[in-house]
Amino acid sequence: MTKLIELRPPLNDKKIKQLKAGDTVSVSGTVVTARDKAYVRALTLLRSGKKLPIDLHGGIVYHCGPLAKKTARGLKIASAGPTTSVRLDSMQVEFVKRTGVGALVGKSGVNEDVARELARLDCVYLAFTGGAGVLAAQAIQRVKKVFWRDLGPAEALWVLNVKKFGPLVVAVDTKGNNLYQR
């Protein structure tokens, strides 16, 4: 396996712009999960001028609904692969614009028009292998916090501490290159 570029959020624009489509990276630090219901709630809050429970500026948002196991020492992630990002396409650009997220992690990418907007907003899209839930869970060291539990375990906002989470493929970069475009 080739050497991975290591990313540590919060990411600055310089770091993000250096990433090229086809690069392989890993992430260490804090990653926040969000998918369908969390996107809806986040946008509702931000549109009315309210704050999210966690600052996502320069952060990494992971499209994922993890599977956790209850243990004596708290919640442990058993399996946590990516979910289909394209489902969030209609909210994606506004979400990135309002939160200032630096990188999205998911599977199957975003549509071409969304990819172009993400590039303009200096946000990269990183692909993780769908279905590789245990491989991802191995990199998750700790569940730091779970917000919005009322949305259900798959839809809540999980704040995760990860170490060398990857390999992730830079699939959409800030120059507008998109590996999903055939």
Partner: protein, 311 residues
């Protein structure tokens, strides 16, 4: 359920026909939970082999990396007994039930209860919600779940097949009501359109189930049931076998590749099943299964239910 004691006393144990055909609820529960556990954590051999063979065909670095991650994940999942994918899916049971088999429990209710139990102990992710309020039931139990297709058979036969499907792949499924004279080429176009439009969403390389004919619901059922067929098997119908080969090559020529990131492997196989249909109809259903093609099978041997796939 323990046998009725007065009844048990009356039985001649040496040549008891009834006893041979009795399946206890306990045996059934034990088998179903074992099937759910194995399906969530281990893939059948034919799928693993297909992934390994496909990896060797890939020239592109990113495509090979996707296969490496899949295969590494499978090893870890098996070793740790952890679900391969966090989307532990929904459950469809296909049961062939012999009419001479005596069951003193409600299959549907027992399946539902065992799934509730499996959700707690394996654990599985609670995936089921009300379709309108979207409220999660929290147990993977709910109205109309699990899906059960019961096929009555003669004799004492019992075969249980379990198909596990995540939403990423299921969401890409399609039903086409083609013109009755549209022919084979139109059927193929429908299949390729489904694969092309799905792109990376169903977690390719996928297994493509195709149901041709029957009626709307029969075509859908055939397409889904075709996903149970091992990748190592050959379609006994020569014409369908040829269509399967041609569609596999055409789909792999689309360049979608593993996880949609480009490459030579978009599908692991295409499985077609057909049924006769109305002269004015040509229903074609396409159901995609992700590379983590989870399934399990069990069969009644004597009075023991044996889980045969995956090993």
């Amino acid at each position: 359920m323990p046998p009725n004691p007065t009844y048990a006393k009356d039985i001649n144990y040496d040549d008891s026909f009834e006893l041979d055909c009795m399946l206890t609820e306990n045996e059934f529960r034990k088998t179903i939970i074992e099937m759910l556990r194995r399906a969530a954590t281990t893939l059948p051999k034919d799928v693993i082999n297909a992934l390994k063979i496909s990896k060797r065909r890939e020239g592109n670095k990113i495509a090979r990396l996707q296969f490496d991650c899949m295969l590494k994940n499978l090893k870890l999942a098996r070793k740790l007994g952890a679900p391969i994918c966090q989307d532990t899916g929904t459950f469809t049971f296909f049961i062939e039930l012999g009419s001479e088999l005596e069951l003193d429990f409600d299959i549907r209710q027992t399946l539902s209860e065992v799934i509730g139990q499996a959700t707690r102990v394996i654990p599985l992710r609670p995936n089921l919600v009300d379709p309108l309020t979207r409220k999660n039931t929290g147990t993977n139990m709910g109205e109309g779940q699990p899906v059960l297709h019961l096929e009555p058979m003669r004799g004492k036969r019992l075969r249980i097949d379990l198909l596990v499907k995540g939403a990423g792949a299921e969401n890409c499924s399609r039903l086409f009501m083609l013109k009755p004279t549209a022919g084979e080429e139109a059927v193929k176009r429908a299949v390729l359109l489904t694969v092309e439009e799905a792109g990376g969403q169903p977690c390719p390389p996928t297994i493509v189930g195709v149901g041709i004919g029957g009626s709307t619901e029969v075509a859908c059922l055939l397409a889904k049931k075709a996903l149970l067929r091992p990748l190592s098997s050959k379609n006994p119908d020569k014409k369908l076998a040829r269509m399967e080969r041609e569609l596999t090559d055409a789909a792999n020529g689309l360049g979608i590749g593993p996880m949609g990131l480009g490459g030579r492997t978009t599908v692991l196989g295409v499985h077609i099943a057909k049924a006769t249909c109305h002269t004015a109809s040509l229903p074609v259903a396409v159901n995609l299964q992700c590379w983590a093609a989870r399934r399990a099978s069990a069969r009644l041997v004597g009075d023991k239910l044996r889980v045969e796939v995956p090993r």
